[in-house]
Symmetry: C2
Subunit: 192 residues, 2 copies
């Protein structure tokens, strides 16, 4: 049904072939153009999304128009606004495609049923939550303690595969520094 996703489950989980097609069959497939959104601020996050290919971002826009990025979601990752999804309350963030992307989406009730019926899927979900928790505190610590240059170097080490796919302004919006500062850092690194 969705061969890429089924391979993902095969390699990342212990789901049986039957369970895999059960999970896969509940998904709806969607193609996203560049800048197309799967969630708008103010709306309720009704789906979990798996990225087959492409690249998405979770971000919020301030009143002054500046953008701040909470997460990038490349191929083989999941995304949603977890607070809006959990509480079924309006979201404060947007989720949009940076590159043309292909995604699978499950609505909440379907996915909850799958979690109950497929214990190994629940295990995967818990593992993903744990990874996210671990990374969140690391990121918070870096954000609090590192200089802009250290933040950028940490980013390049952690996401080497994203570097060339992101405009610098989005890296800056993720690190919480200005584009000016980021270009200054890169300039300094060149002449070193």
């Amino acid at each position: 049904m969705h061969p890429h996703f089924e391979t993902y489950l095969q390699t990342q989980t212990t789901l049986t072939a039957n369970e895999i097609s059960q999970v896969s069959s509940m998904a709806s497939f969607r193609i996203l153009k560049r800048n197309e959104s799967v969630l708008f601020a103010g709306d309720i996050c009704k789906h979990k999304t798996f990225v087959i290919s492409g690249l998405l971002r979770n971000y919020s826009t301030s009143v002054d128009g500046s953008e701040h990025i909470l997460r990038f979601s490349p191929e083989n990752s999941w995304t949603l606004d977890v607070e809006s999804y959990d509480k079924q309350a309006p979201s404060v963030i947007n989720i949009s495609a940076i590159e043309p992307s292909q995604v699978l989406m499950w609505n909440k009730t379907d996915f909850q049923n799958l979690l109950v019926n497929v214990p190994a899927l629940k295990q995967l979900a818990e593992q993903l939550i744990a990874n996210n928790t671990h990374y969140s505190s690391q990121r918070m610590l870096t954000t609090l303690s590192a200089s802009p240059e250290e933040k950028y170097e940490d980013f390049t080490r952690r996401f080497p595969n994203l570097l060339a796919r992101l405009p610098l302004r989005m890296i800056a919006a993720y690190l919480g520094i200005s584009l000016k500062t980021l270009t200054r850092i890169r300039h300094a690194q060149l002449t070193r």
Copy 2:
């Protein structure tokens, strides 16, 4: 056995009296002096900790001696270094008492058994994880997008009960601003 904690479970969960004493009986009680630690950076986090009374902080110290705070844990909250606990790997943070405190601690294997045997405890744990996840992204967004003054105001709104219990330098270390900036903000607010 630990009446304060048992009341906490009674009011926050659906655990039966029998389950409550089961959970409670596996805890070890500990009294902490001010500045006493339950976890040192470099050590492995072997316990989950519930704070009966007092106030703890999770923090990391940089090479230059500066301190950055990841979380405060007042009475009726839980704390640990979740990454170190999950992976049983050396921690990068310290957990210490800001005030004289009383805590309960469970070691990992005991707590895992409780989670399996007491489904409502697992529910509580998942709820706490969800709360933590939600707050983490809100905090990250504030950290990325807010001015120092907005960060401080957000803190006062969110943790009014902690304000008077914390030295300003710790609030600054939590917000990622300097003590100087924080005192400037407070001074400006006075004369307004």
